[in-house]
């Protein structure tokens, strides 16, 4: 495509990472826009004019009924004014058009609760979830992720492992049954997992695995690799000064989180 690809970050009802998410998109190459959900519901803005959708972090509706539950319900039922179309239909059209979607933290929870992820059999089927951390607590701490380089995920191309912060109370990844986990593993959809930096291996040990996630899963993708959700925040690490040890370690100037967004950009430029 010729014009600069456009990224949309949907805001409102409690999202709170939109500022840095838009900055990350911009640094990745996109023309980035924060759009309040009310502008989508009013029909002023449609997803169709964007090539990359960000469902960013926050506390949608306070996570009052469980993380992202109310927004999942809203997107399922809400109609675009004077249009007769549901917001959900726009989202599904976005997916059918082969455009990438990134869900971070609350956005990942939203994708899972809408059934957008893992999308094993197409359609909106909920087969996994994210629930309360084993610690029973919300926590902000940096973790290390091991990337499955065989994963079809387009966002993690070229990344082996990466340090990012987690900031959540409901990040424990749970599957409906072992069969689901087996299929996710077989298709290499368990894209990022919590790693113990001392061993270089995935870990169930707290706090390296901050929430007790099954199989140490921190993020999963769809079989197409275009839909990706993760609990840690790539948009929180855009420059070395974001890193908790930047005053004592030799870190590259560019924050490691930008690569996720640049990968999305490169994919869009090549594929769309």
């Amino acid at each position: 495509m010729t014009a600069t690809p456009r990224a949309i970050v949907i805001t409102g009802n409690g999202t709170n990472c939109e500022r840095e998410a838009a900055e990350a998109c911009r640094l990745g190459g996109f023309d980035a826009h924060n759009v309040h959900i009310s502008s989508i519901l009013s029909g002023e803005v449609t997803l169709d004019s964007y090539q990359f959708l960000n469902l960013t972090g926050g506390f949608l509706d306070g996570d009052d009924l469980g993380s992202a539950m109310v927004q999942a319900n809203r997107l399922k039922y809400a109609m675009v004014a004077d249009d007769g179309e549901r917001v959900l239909e726009q989202v599904l059209r976005f997916i059918d058009a082969g455009k990438p979607i990134l869900g971070v933290c609350n956005g990942f929870q939203l994708m899972v609760k809408m059934g957008l992820l893992p999308g094993l059999d197409g359609g909106l089927v909920r087969s996994t979830t994210l629930t309360f951390n084993d610690s029973g607590r919300y926590e902000d701490r940096w973790v290390t992720l091991l990337v499955d380089e065989e994963s079809p995920c387009i966002f993690t191309r070229g990344i082996q492992n990466v340090s990012l912060p987690v900031r959540h109370g409901e990040g424990k990844f749970v599957v409906r049954d072992e069969a689901v986990m087996g299929r996710l593993e077989a298709k290499r959809l368990l894209t990022v997992r919590y790693m113990d930096p001392a061993t270089g291996k995935i870990t169930m040990k707290y706090p390296e695995n901050p929430n007790g996630s099954s199989e140490a899963v921190a993020g999963i993708c769809s079989p197409s690799g275009l839909l990706f959700g993760l609990m840690p925040h790539p948009e929180a690490y855009l420059h070395r000064v974001n890193h908790p040890r930047w005053t004592r370690e030799n870190l590259p100037e560019e924050g490691a989180g930008i690569a996720f967004f640049r990968n999305a950009y490169e994919y869009v430029v090549q594929a769309l």
Partner: protein, 992 residues
Amino acid sequence: MAVRIEVGYRDPVRDPRGERVVREARELAGLELRSVRTVAVYTLDMDLTGEELEKVASGPFTDPIIQTYAIGRPVGGIFDLVIEVGYRPGVTDNVGRSAGEAVAQLLGRPLAPEEGVYTSIQYQIQGDLTQPDAQRLASEVLANELIHRWRVVPAGDFDKAAGLKPEVPRVSISGGGRVREVDLSCSDEDLMKISREGLLALSLEEMKAIQAHFEDPEVQGERKERGLGSRPTDVEIEVLAQTWSEHCKHKIFNALIRYEDERGNTETVDSLFKTYIVGATERVRGEMAAKDICLSVFKDNAGVIRFNDDFNLVFKVETHNSPSALDPYGGALTGIVGVNRDPFGTGLGANLLFNTDVFCFASPFHSDPLPPRILHPRRIYEGVVEGVEHGGNKSGIPTVNGAVVFDERFLGKPLVYCGTAAVMPAKVAGRPSHEKEVGVGDRVVMVGGRIGKDGIHGATFSSEELHEGSPVSAVQIGDPITQKRMFDFLLVAREEGLYSSITDNGAGGLSSSVGEMARDTGGAVLHLDLAPLKYPGLDPWEILISEAQERMTVSVPPRNLKRFMELSEKMGVESTDLGEFNDSGRFELLYDGRVVGSRSMEFLHEGVPQMVLDARWEPPPLAEPSFEAPGDLDPILLDLLGRLNICSKESIVRRYDHEVQGGSVVKPFTGAANDGPSDAAVVRPILDSFEGVVVSNGIVPRYSDIDTYAMAANAVDEAFRNYVAVGGDPSWAAALDNFCWCDPVQSDKTPDGTYKLAQLVRANRGLYDAVTAYGIPLISGKDSMKNDYIMGDVKISIPPTLLASVIGRMDDVRKAVTMDLKSPGNHLYMLGETARELGGSEYYALLGYVGAQVPAVDFDRARERYERYHKALLKGLIRSCHDCSDGGMAVALAEMAFAGEVGLVVDLNAVPATGDLRDDELLFSETASRLLVEVAPSDAPQFEEAMGETAWARIGTCTEEKQLVVKKGDGKVLSLSLEEMKEAWQRTLRGL
């Protein structure tokens, strides 16, 4: 017909909330439970078809992977008893609100006024509890009787087929709209009775001023013209009581004080506020001249300083002590979301950047019997921490800096300081953003939440006034999401230039917000009957002064009203046109078209009589203790590291999102394992710039036992040295003062009032001397003057406490310095001379002493040291820096070493000292203004040159060996491994 939907966890799924109850039952109530499972209960007070109920239950209410639901019957479970906890009528039920919204989305229609969704939590308990135990579990662990109600049902009484009956905590009040006249032509005694029984908190002088005002023939004439009776209405009395409250008028800080010192010298202070607070700022600004950074001080909801040409910085710190004592969770949550509205309502509105929080508690391990009505400090601790966690995290504002201070006297009242900083573009819609002015003819528009009986007259302690069916007025629970939606909308409205002024509805509600804004034009008309209510049945005076949360008042020029309302509706925020600002000279209140109150603006704002108070300073009879120096200092340092005021607060701080918005540079914890305590926070407010905001705090109430002058001076010094340590520019800093005092007005209840007031005077002088010497203007502040507990014979007064918060900037955050040692081989320097100043120290407290020699701050020498240090920092000469505070040099050395996982060898002979100090004195004295600095050997000459003639010395070297070794010449004074020091420091609060 109300229907219950129960949602429980599937069998093998862990229930961390239930597990937490098991833990807390043990720790808070000494009850052993085998297991607890929680069930979320939604009571739908509306008529839905079976199909609709099924859709609601299986959709937004249940996560099918881990949960299961039941409609109109119990969801199942194995238990010996259940305790179900729900809210009392009228208490904010955030989950219920969200559930109601989800139902509305699903039905495709809004809920009718009489419909509602209410939530409760059912605890399914396995354990051998007697009925009294179960009640205690409910009242001491699961619920708070001020806001909750609960049912205890043993398994034997539990109907397994039908379950519990639906209970709907709907507010039912009859009437509303009543206006009462108040007869003030009565005796002094009866005037005071009116004040007391009406919770007006007005003194006799004030009541008499009001009496005289209404007897004035001119006033009587005006009343007749407006169709008002000769007696004031309750609406009018309430407006005056709110406007004249200590909270709004700061009467003690504005009093005329006759101060007498220990030698009998007397002095009259006409307003502490004007003399020492405004006075300090005027002097500093005068000295800063062209470099003055202040833009708006003392006049708005928060202070405003310049950040750069394009942006301004806004900062405000509030306290929320009494509400947090009643309901720690709701009180603290409301504290944080409440202070968010201050910077947001400053100038034309600001983007919230970060929160700070400082708590003062009694020990969470308190084991003595508690006086009546006092919640256990462990519960206060847990509730406050969680309230601030939810308030900050859900609002998407990082909590970047804070402190927790412990003293047994905070049993009487915990202190909860909540601060919020914000940035605003220097210009908004072409106008300077820090200025605002209501125009004549602008509409009075209330935005956000609805009005209920919340927070009328602030907190009311007695539960007798709460009864089934009556809404709770004592406690409010904030709703961060409703507020966030409102802020999202108002920021758009700000960019479009739709309003001329904005302020928040906090204390005093509309009475205060509209009354204040009306000063711009000289009057306003407010139609109280138009205000949106949470439930019917409120009287006009209640609508006027309700402190219901999440509301802002804006003035909208008529030409913008249509657009403002459209935008508001589109973004899902309620806005209501309530009247007009005018230049009538009066604040006029109408209900259904009838005048129910009319006050002249002048009497409202200028009529309050000045208090006249006596203060007498008598230094407390204290002496320096005389004791042998301990032979072995290793265990002393370990004990100090584990003390509540020194130990790691990581178990609290990790629960706060400290990096949302992406600007985090120096985080609360730093070092090799991300667990060393940072001195201050650095944040980038603009993501494509390296300019940073630096924020720090200082607080040392222990020193008040000796002299509040030193307490205040040290608080400012601590905040400023922390600010400077990480890289804050000393020439670009401002401060906030937050006083929390025990009642300083002499009375039967407070026989030592003259002393406490003298303490207040001295603290103000300490504050004035410190900020003027350092050149940091005070830009905003707050006082909370009644932090006492009185019940029967028991009186507990908090130690007088000043929180100093410093905010400023650094040009380039890449020059920021953290406190963790970086590399073996580097030099360690001490900046500043150590004196024998152990009065009020943690070391003395450990040994059971208070002492007399409290640290005295040498402001001028400190300022030069800080300025030189800052220049060295800008040259990149500093590898790490940590200030010496609680526990003195020894604690700072230990923290630097274990945070960096780098050892240290220090020679006491090299430490600059005033006089001949013993080893323990050198190590643990809390002398102010000292910094420990790590410098690479190659930079040492340049660094030493930079520090010039100020007091400094190289006192040690960083080592490979993971050990802190303190020597004196060749003799060993102290030797501890980094691991054992860190363990001692982390152990105390790790489990909480």
